[in-house]
Symmetry: C2
Subunit: 120 residues, 2 copies
Amino acid sequence: MPRLTLRIDFDNGSQIGHGKIRLLELIAEHGSISSAAREMGMSYRRAWLLTDELNRMFRSPVLETQHGGSGGGAARLTSFGHAIVGHYRAFEAQSMKLFGKQLAELERDLVDREHRPGGV
Amino acid sequence: MPRLTLRIDFDNGSQIGHGKIRLLELIAEHGSISSAAREMGMSYRRAWLLTDELNRMFRSPVLETQHGGSGGGAARLTSFGHAIVGHYRAFEAQSMKLFGKQLAELERDLVDREHRPGGV
């Protein structure tokens, strides 16, 4: 089944897409930015910069951190952070429900992978 | 008004997103890959590789080209290519119609740009 990924571009230049949302979900799951970064194959620095960007993006913070040893301490989503993740996943689920049939039709028009000598 | 951008990931690894669709639209408009590339600030080589990928992606070609001088000749979308662009833009328009209100609410939670000293 094809997958639909959404990116939201706000008027002020802020963006939310699959990467930031996945990072927030993994932080919620692991309670740590460094563990979430590791699972995404992302550097701790990159993950930290993304969470910092997310925390400055909205009037309310998206996550709360407690500084710990090397590699960062504990981190958890605020209720607003959980709401952002929930909105995004709801948009995604509703889109798939709406467009799933048309996407599946498009997929039937794809060339089979084994017939695409130079294809990705 | 926030903007929603969609990316479709098919099971075989093929992707269609805003960049490829915009390139197809500009090729349809200008009748040339090189003019479309120029308008997107993209190299001719990159644009050509993307159109080649699109043409190998589906059972039917997405665009037809006539080789010309340096910088490439004429190019036009096939009816299938127009259909792909149409599907994508319809998904986008329907998503905005559905989620526009919620997105506008999210936007109201954004920090004003002038209040974000380190923001993007």
